[in-house]
């Protein structure tokens, strides 16, 4: 070629191209995101290493009424022996409750969120993109589920589910199946508007099938709502887990979970606030952390994000 080429590229590639890369970029660029990522790691560590940590503390999940005062409240607050204090009425070590509770809550919260988001995105996107009878079937099914009194379904399930059935799995499936319509509706709405854009049309004109269009054209433009919805779904799934356990569908006592501990602790928020504060704050922290990291990922994925460093 004879003539000089136009100005060189040179501009640093703006946006990360995959979610893990975006995560890495977000963590590197922003201290706030980094802090929150560390919080997530710490809490996950607490869940995984609950046995180890409680062994260090020297406590377990055994009730011991000797830890209690005359009214059934903890005799004393946090101490070297009981890091977070103990549970009213039973005297079970609160740190152990929070640490072991993290296992159930994180597993169920994350897996159920993942299930409902994956289902919701796939179903919602396909409904919005393919349209026609499939869209109608999806909308109807979603409406059925949204209008369905899942409470009595849970009660029925609690009555018929055998004790031996793996409870965590049951909860994940149930929560996932009841959770997808919301995600699907959001994704469908976005896709309805995206499919009318030329670049999506271009991809199908090139011969791209639905799957190609979904992964290459739609998905990258759906990350923002997906990330936001999933990071907000996690805490509600953890809360739902508590409700399910309450109805007998969830984990069986004495296995703790945050949701359950928090819902029992609410009644004590005036007399024994620490009982609520420890699990509550952990749940708050991890929710916040997931959202901050989610935002970081969203920003890192956005090529138009202004004023990047």
């Amino acid at each position: 070629m004879s003539d000089p080429l136009p100005l060189g590229g040179g501009v640093t590639p703006g946006a990360a191209k995959s979610v893990p890369a975006a995560l890495w970029q977000a963590v590197r660029r922003d201290k706030w995101t980094l802090t929150c990522a560390i919080i997530i790691v710490l809490i996950v560590f607490m869940a995984v290493a609950a046995d180890l940590l409680t062994a260090i503390e020297g406590q377990g999940l055994n009730p011991d009424i000797k830890n209690l005062g005359p009214t059934g409240l903890p005799a004393e607050g946090p101490s070297a022996e009981h890091w977070f204090g103990v549970e009213p009425l039973t005297g079970v070590d609160l740190f152990a409750l929070v640490a072991y509770g993290a296992r159930v809550s994180l597993l169920v919260g994350l897996a159920a969120t993942a299930l409902s988001v994956v289902l919701g995105v796939l179903i919602g996107a396909s409904a919005g993109y393919l349209g026609g009878w499939w869209d109608r079937v999806v909308t109807w099914t979603a409406d059925v589920i949204l209008g369905f009194p899942y409470l009595i379904f849970m009660i029925a399930l609690g009555a018929v589910a055998p004790v031996e059935f793996p409870r965590q799995l049951l909860m994940i499936v149930v929560l996932g199946l009841f959770g997808w319509p919301r995600v699907a509706r959001i994704v469908r709405a976005q896709v309805l508007s995206l499919t009318k854009r030329n670049f999506v049309k271009a991809a199908s004109a090139m011969g791209g099938g639905p799957w190609h269009v979904f992964t290459k054209q739609l998905l990258p433009n759906l990350w923002a709502p997906i990330i936001i919805v999933s990071s907000l779904t996690i805490p509600s799934m953890i809360g739902n887990e508590a409700a399910l356990s309450f109805l007998g569908v969830g984990v069986l006592p004495p296995t703790p979970s945050w949701g359950r501990t928090i819902s029992t602790a609410i009644d004590y928020f005036e007399t024994d606030p620490l009982y609520l504060v420890f699990p509550g704050v952990t749940l708050f922290l991890i929710t916040l952390a997931f959202n901050v990291v989610g935002d970081g990922i969203r920003d890192a994925l956005d090529p138009k994000a202004e004023g990047r460093g």
Binding site: P149, A156, K304
Partner: protein
């Protein structure tokens, strides 16, 4: 023409959804190994008396028969028992609540005002604050304002409704004593008292729900602000407020309206926990009491009612898509 066809199609779909919901509820109810007639049997409950109760309430026929009876009752009405003590439930009969001696439809309609008052008031508040906060934190991305908004929003979502309600009532109704503790005053009776009694439930619900609106608004807003038409709007000399509030916001509304539809549909059909805490006799409370009393007619009625609302609200939302984004119109 097309609009009419579309609406007719959706309407048929709605009926189908309702039928399915009813059917599934019926099925689930029969999975429950319990016996609603037990409650009407008394103590001690002899087998004969149980059988009588069952027969009277129509629980002795097979479940599919009961399902048809129920659906039939909507069109033709039903009669339970015979003689002077027979109970008539005129069409449209959505079942008869034997525990409370009332037609289910009447019971629901009696409580609709409460649930709607709670839901709509709260929805307005959270929509405005949620979207408002979302816009602010999008514009102030990465600043303290953004982060504080985020933290408050997260406190809202990670808090169980029950806790938020109890804390709200403890602080505002007891410690500060600025709002009434419980109760409901019909709007027709005294609008000021009506609002006054509902302020706290509204705020609590709004606090719980606003987060997702704030977050979605923020995310979508950031996407939209990079579009070329925003530049055009600025080039016209529009104030930043108009650029954001008109040009950007309209393009952000699609997911917001979607979630709103889902949330509102569910809320109108009853906010169980809030209604209980604040002693509001709404549909949600009816449902919980129905569940506690294994009151199948109530369960079915409320289920149908809530499914109706959900489908209807979502239908409106689907219609709204076309208005919000003309490209996505009715196809």
């Amino acid at each position: 023409m097309r609009v009419a066809g579309f609406i007719a199609g959706r309407f048929a779909g709605m009926l189908l959804v309702l039928l399915i919901v009813t059917f599934v509820t019926f099925l689930v109810f029969y999975i429950l190994p319990s016996d609603p007639a037990q409650l009407a049997c008394g103590r001690p409950c002899s087998p004969q008396s149980l059988e009588l109760a069952r027969e009277f309430m129509g629980f002795n026929s097979p479940w599919y028969q009961q399902f048809f009876d129920f659906v039939g009752g909507i069109f033709t009405g039903r009669t339970f028992g015979s003689g002077p003590s027979a109970i008539h439930c005129p069409a449209p009969c959505f079942g008869y609540d034997f525990q409370n001696n009332a037609e289910v439809l009447t019971e629901i309609l009696d409580r609709v005002e409460v649930s709607f008052s709670v839901a709509i008031g709260a929805a307005i508040i959270w929509l405005i604050t949620g979207v408002g906060l979302g816009v602010v934190s999008a514009l102030k991305r990465g600043t303290t304002v953004d982060r504080v908004t985020m933290a408050v929003a997260m406190a809202g979502v990670s808090m169980p409704a029950y806790l938020a309600g109890m804390i709200g009532i403890t602080i505002f109704a007891f410690a500060l004593d600025v709002v009434p503790k419980t109760g409901y005053v019909p709007i027709g009776e005294d609008p000021v008292q009506w609002a006054w009694h509902l302020v706290l439930p509204w705020l609590v619900l709004a606090f719980l729900h606003a987060a997702i609106y704030a977050r979605l608004t923020r995310g979508q807003m950031l996407e939209t602000l990079g579009e070329d038409f925003i530049r055009t709007a600025r080039a016209k000399g529009l104030t930043e407020r108009k650029v954001i509030g008109r040009h950007a916001l309209r393009n952000v509304l699609l997911p917001i309206v979607t979630v709103f539809g889902v949330d509102l549909g569910a809320l109108l059909a009853g906010t169980v926990i809030t209604e209980r805490i604040f002693g509001l006799p709404g549909v949600g409370k009816l449902l919980v009491d129905g569940i506690a009393g294994l009151n199948l007619p109530i369960l079915l009625g409320v289920t149908l009612f809530s499914a109706l609302l959900v489908t209807f609200v979502n239908f409106l939302v689907d219609l709204l898509y076309g208005v919000l984004d003309p490209r996505a119109r009715l196809t």
